[in-house]
């Protein structure tokens, strides 16, 4: 019978933890190069030598002292779920800092396997790590790995399995010096009175955490009758001074250990630093960043176009075949005008979306994202945020939902709230079809630049809104900015393709569910009541559109656009999908000529519509995640109302200016 083994993967940010997780499970999951890419708990299973490993990827953390939301997640999992084995992934080129987390894991009494990752890099510069000595000194298993080439993964799996067969370890003790140790002993004595508690958590570990002023551990005592005693004891002295001292003692422990197990060679200025000299240059940094972004969108547009032609041809043929072969008029209309036209107008952009996600994956995996945060720090600070907030915002180019979740790496609550509120202004992949359709139709060769301009507008609105929120809502200073910069790596093709596929797959799934549903609803409303001309002003949808038309009439939008925008709240691709259905173009690229032929459309209106789509209330998914992450309806409604108001005003300005200029 297969035996289940619970495995948790822990480690510092940027050590290749997610790559190890991918290699262990073969799971399709994104990897990144900057702190906190793993915002959610990710699980995978692996069969190995008759055992079933249930592997959980924990967020990357420097320690387990619960400084940010990520660390709390990681620590609570280890404490509460008690995994059979914890695999800590370490950066072999920076053992000192990585072993800090190891020391904390050992104190918790975990069954620990160390994966010494990037061992090739350490060996290349001449480091020598004495594995058996490290194992015997710490009482752990250690395996050298090169995760991005799959090196050492088999050995790691073997080691995980054999670790469960050995005796559980005795929690490792680090000496904290006489004064602290006395207090630890006293606390251990008090804790010992509650056997229920000490059965769950090692007493010494709890004592250490209490001395460090750990709120989280303190709250675990709340149901125990010894809480009063502990509080009483802790209030007898000022434990602030011990906190940093205890951290220092851990480093002392590591400092004593390291020379015994490892000879390191000093590193010269690395190639990474040379790149950084250029990329983060005071004058070149921002132009380089903008050029990369511009290149990314040009590429998205240029490479996608031939595929769009093919997909358009296919749907054109399909639409024709349906019209020719289906007798029932209403069914032919549902399939042709409704589903095929609607779905096609969205599916047309799948190649672009895939290319965009691929480009984002390349930027992330190469390590450039963290540099972008650094370059933008000064600007972000002026706008009331810190550089780190820029990373979730950049992720927002892909999809707002994971981007909003990625704000969990921000330690300060106000920083986090503001970042969540402004991230939806970053133009996500779902808005791209709207731009490609409209810019491609009305701006021809300038389309790439128009789209780039929309992305820049999104960034500007986001940071100006941040300034506004910082001034009026979440007053105060942004928290000080510090972030580790991962070394540049050649982005792995496989990982980038996996990321692209995962994200693109979600997009396809959305087309298959939400968007088909949306366009069918639009079709029903456009077809009925019986007898009216399809999609005309007399149909249900025409009435609905005319009802809300006055709201957008000042922008020059007619009722068809109004309807498309209403349905676009479900998912922004539906703006295009409903236009496709409303114009009943039967698929293909024929939506473009239909729009060109419609007198109520003009380049100015198209620009206004793109600006409106960019900025107005984010899709249901994003709104729901704002509610979840802020834990408040208030902020959700605030965000929705604020963004719609901004969209309305800026779209109006755009249309007015464009009418003058174009």
């Amino acid at each position: 019978m297969a035996e289940k083994i619970k495995v948790a993967v822990a480690g510092n940010p940027n050590v290749g933890k997610t790559t190890i997780f991918n290699a262990l499970t073969g799971a399709r999951q994104k990897i990144g190069n900057w702190p906190g890419v793993t915002v959610e708990k990710k699980e995978g299973t692996k069969k190995h030598k008759g055992h079933v490993l249930e592997i959980v990827d924990l967020p990357g953390t420097y320690s387990l002292s619960a400084y940010s939301a990520d660390e709390v997640v990681a620590r609570d999992y280890i404490i509460d779920e008690k995994p059979d084995v914890v695999v800590q992934v370490l950066d072999s080129t920076n053992l000192e800092r990585n072993l800090y987390l190891t020391s904390q894991l050992l104190e918790m009494g975990t069954n620990l396997v160390l994966a010494l990752n990037m061992s090739d890099r350490a060996e290349m510069r001449g480091d020598d790590i004495d594995i058996p000595r490290l194992e015997s000194l710490l009482g752990v298993s250690a395996i050298k790995t090169v995760a991005n080439e799959g090196g050492g993964i088999e050995a790691l799996l073997d080691s995980i399995v054999s670790k469960t067969e050995s005796n559980p370890p005795k929690p490792h003790e680090i000496g904290y010096g006489k004064t602290v140790e006395e207090k630890i002993c006293a606390l251990e004595d008090i804790l010992g009175n509650d056997t229920e508690l000490t059965k769950h958590y090692p007493a010494r570990w709890m004592a250490v955490k209490l001395l460090e002023g750990d709120e989280n551990v303190l709250s675990k005592l709340s149901s125990s009758n010894i809480e009063g005693k502990v509080q009483n004891y802790l209030s007898g002295f000022d434990n602030e001074e011990y906190e940093v001292e205890m951290a220092d003692k851990r480093y002392e422990f590591i400092g004593a250990l390291l020379p015994q197990v490892c000879t390191t060679c000093a590193e010269d200025v690395s190639p990474s630093d040379m790149v950084d000299k250029v990329v983060t240059n005071k004058y070149l940094g921002i132009p380089i960043f903008l050029s990369l972004m511009w290149g990314m969108f040009e590429l998205t547009f240029a490479l996608g176009t031939p595929f769009m032609g093919l997909i358009g041809k296919f749907f054109g043929w399909l639409g024709g075949a349906v019209a020719a072969n289906i007798e029932s008029a209403w069914l032919a209309s549902l399939l042709g005008d409704g589903i095929i036209a609607g779905v096609c107008s969205v599916l047309l952009f799948v190649p672009n979306i895939f290319i965009l996600f691929f480009a984002i994956a390349l930027l992330e995996n190469s390590g450039y994202m963290a540099r972008a945060a650094f370059i933008m720090d000064k600007l972000m600070y002026k706008m009331g945020l810190q550089g780190k907030s820029f990373i979730p915002m950049l992720m927002g180019f892909g999809c707002s939902v994971p981007a909003i979740m990625a704000t969990r790496t921000l330690e300060d609550e106000k920083d986090r709230l503001i970042t969540m509120l402004v991230t939806p202004f970053m133009s996500c992949g779902a808005r791209l079809p709207v731009y490609i359709l409209l810019a491609g139709t009305f701006f021809g060769r300038e389309a790439g630049s128009v789209i780039f301009g929309l992305y820049v507008l999104g960034i500007l609105v986001a940071i100006l809104s941040a300034k506004l929120f910082r001034t009026f809502i979440a007053k105060g200073q942004p928290s000080p900015f510090i972030m580790e910069l991962p070394p540049y790596t050649r982005p792995s093709l496989v990982n980038s393709l996996l990321y692209m596929w995962n994200q693109g797959y979600l997009y396809l799934k959305k087309v298959g569910t939400v968007i088909i549903g949306g366009v069918m609803l639009v079709w029903v409303l456009a077809y009925f009541p019986q007898g009216v001309e399809y999609g005309s002003a007399e149909s249900l949808i025409g009435s609905l559109g005319q009802l809300i038309e006055p709201l957008v009439a000042p922008l020059g939008f007619d009722w068809k656009i109004a309807v498309a925008l209403i349905f676009g709240v479900v998912a922004k691709e539906i703006v295009v999908g409903s236009l496709g259905t409303l114009y009943g173009t039967g698929g293909g690229e024929s939506l473009s000529p239909a729009l060109l032929a419609d007198p109520s459309f003009s380049p100015a209106i198209a620009l206004g519509l793109m600006v409106f789509t960019l900025l107005y209330v984010p899709c249901f998914g994003a709104v729901a995640v704002i509610k979840k992450e802020t834990g408040s309806w208030k902020w959700m409604f605030f965000q929705a109302a604020y963004s719609t108001a901004v969209a309305w005003v800026l779209a109006l300005v755009t249309v007015l200016v464009a009418n003058l200029v174009l």
């Binding site: 940093v244 650094f374 510090i482």
Partner: protein, 84 residues
Amino acid sequence: MTSKIPLSMFPSGQACQICDVCAGKGLKRRLVEMGLTPESIIQPLGCNRGSLLISVNGSRYALGRGMANKIMVQPVYEEVPQFG
């Protein structure tokens, strides 16, 4: 003679040593956990509109000016400076 000054005021391009961090306990410990341990040597790598790029113990960090204000440093000398 050594004098402690904030990292943000330190002449750029020269290595220095962390002596102290003027911050609350949470941030102080955070820096230690991230590898910016007391007495570490800071190698400056670059500066961009007040934000710093530094190398400490083999890792690269980006710091905002606010953070650089909190880190007190002193110069390091390869050799003991000779007087007279």
